[in-house]
Symmetry: none
Subunit: 194 residues, 4 copies
DNA sequence: AATGAATGAGCCTTCATTCAT
DNA sequence: CATGAATGAAGGCTCATTCAT
């Protein structure tokens, strides 16, 4: 009996986050009223403020939730002894697939990062990363900084890499795995001499 | 006499557009009230509705204005008999420079394109372009479609091309012309086999 | 025609102030909702914010209004060449009468001065006074400070003087002019040796 | 055993009362939410309603608490065979000292008595007093009513007496014992011919 | 007794838009 | 063309109170 309930409190908190995600994606931040959030999440207008201090906090919580989901996806399917290039290509594919299969979340990220919400806390790329890929990140730099990539500014490298994966995933077309592999290789061609 | 006429009316219309651009960039769409727009544009709340049917229309007009500015910039400094690669690299540089020197406008584009405003009229790449570069565009395609580029999906090509120019221009770092050239070449490496 | 209208705008502003005075006195600051203020003042909820920045500002305006009324009353019926004592007694009577006939305003003052509203701007007695009575005020001090009154702390003098007039005016009983004169004399006995 | 019992329950009740006193003084009646009261009193939002029927009841209880404290103070330091004047002056000093050393409580009284809370039950002066001073009160009246004081309306007498003590105690200045004695004498001059 | 999540009415304020002048 | 007072629906948020546990 006791087992069955995953903490009713956590459930409500998550329902609110999940509902806000939907709402924001469907209608934008400013057309996502707390009243509607409440109704759709099956809560009263008041309780939300039991879990979150303000609308902004709810939105921030959605962001944290999405970011964590994303990070998790990025690290999937890595073979233990793969080369750096292999690891990179796999990660590119992961990124694309995550964005592709989480259009709601991706759309939210776009909205959030283009809003005035996160002007204070810019998502440091490094902060996004877990120890697991610390080693990967060491190589993921221009040669001039001890990495293995072309001597391009780091932001440029990021852009040719995961930036393009994200932009592409949002397009209407769906890449099959062969096309995706080509795109990943094109991205590799942009950032690496090998 | 007739010449002189254009001014007062056009000026006010333009003042409104320009002011809305500022406002939106500074504060976001939903913190850009018509009342403030009026005050800053030196107009009354009422007159704005003589020039535009609604707030949305003002914003749409800003978008058109910015898009036209951008297109103009893209075509600069093209030498008459340059190779396709040369033309491409120049255009990449143009794009970067436009975004770089029009951060306000670029920010507006980001906001606009990420808003629920233009969900109906997605900016078709082709629609952006003027006859001048019709010929350029013929080559700017995968070989499989009669162009000269890698066999990648067109949106992917766009993304590796101008998409990256735009993303990079928004970063804090400013590329000097040598770095920029390298980046343009990296982009070329992504999309072309040559 | 034009003569008849005392500026419709001023009228509405004043209607709002007057209505807020009523409301606050009847129900207290926190049971005087803007919605009710609007309804009773014959305005929409929105316009009030055309005239005042916030509820607090409305209340502040009421205070200024009341303070000005009060000052005016204090200076009435002063004979040109009366002695200081005569002037004082008249002023005491004026104060009593003002408070007595402006119970609404007096009640408002009590509420306002006991609220957290004016914690910042404590009504300096001196600031309340106009040049007219500058000379009177010179004498209205303890001898030790160049005045003609007992050597009591100034606030004590104020309290025995106008403080008591105000407190008394709020009581249920109404003093007739002979009783009032006695009270004024009692107050004089408290502050003066003559 | 029975003795020990009083503690836990009474303590919580008192903690609530004491905390509400603080809260109201710090923030006013309407910025003293039950939720905050609960937190600061170390109770849950719910239990408060086991001890009090409503927020208003809590506030009423605070008032009763403060009034009882005050009465106790008023009667201190009375010498057995002192004259009426001596007794009066001592009481004046007591009053001043109570208010002076209980600014929190005094502030609460001001707020309470100026609120819409107690419009029904105005604190009858007589009701404030205990048998101990019944005799004192017999003399504390105008001659015309069998007392020993000036023929002034009773409320006027009260006002010149303890009213001024209270007002003065709230001022920033602190009277030393000699100044305080002078003030008490000034008050005596206002109400007595002797 | 005690907890604290839940309710929901109501508050202050904003703002796109209209319209008499 | 221009003004700016006026509207009124909505929005975010608070808080006294209740009630299942």
């Amino acid at each position: 009996m006791a087992l069955q309930k995953t903490t009713p409190t956590k459930d409500k908190r998550e329902a609110i986050i999940e509902t806000m995600l939907d709402l924001v994606v469907e209608r934008g931040f400013h057309d996502a009223p707390m009243s509607l959030l409440a109704k759709r999440a099956g809560a009263s207008a008041g309780v939300i403020y039991h879990y979150f201090a303000s609308k902004d906090e709810v939105i921030h919580a959605v962001y944290l939730h999405v970011k964590s989901l994303k990070l998790q996806s990025m690290l999937e399917n890595q073979l233990p002894n793969s080369s750096f290039k292999q690891a990179y290509l796999q990660m590119y594919v992961n990124a694309y697939n995550f964005y592709r299969t989480h259009l709601r979340e991706t759309r939210f990220l776009d909205l959030y990062e283009n809003s005035t919400f996160c002007d204070a806390n810019p998502p440091t790329p490094a902060a996004d990363l877990q120890p697991d890929i610390a080693e990967f990140m060491k190589s993921f730099r221009p040669k001039s900084e001890g990495g293995v990539l072309k001597n391009l500014p780091l932001p440029a490298i990021y852009e040719f890499a995961f930036g393009t994966a994200r932009q592409l995933a949002k397009k209407d077309l769906v890449l099959d795995s062969s096309e995706l592999k080509n795109v990943a290789l094109a991205s590799w061609a942009a950032i690496s001499d090998d």
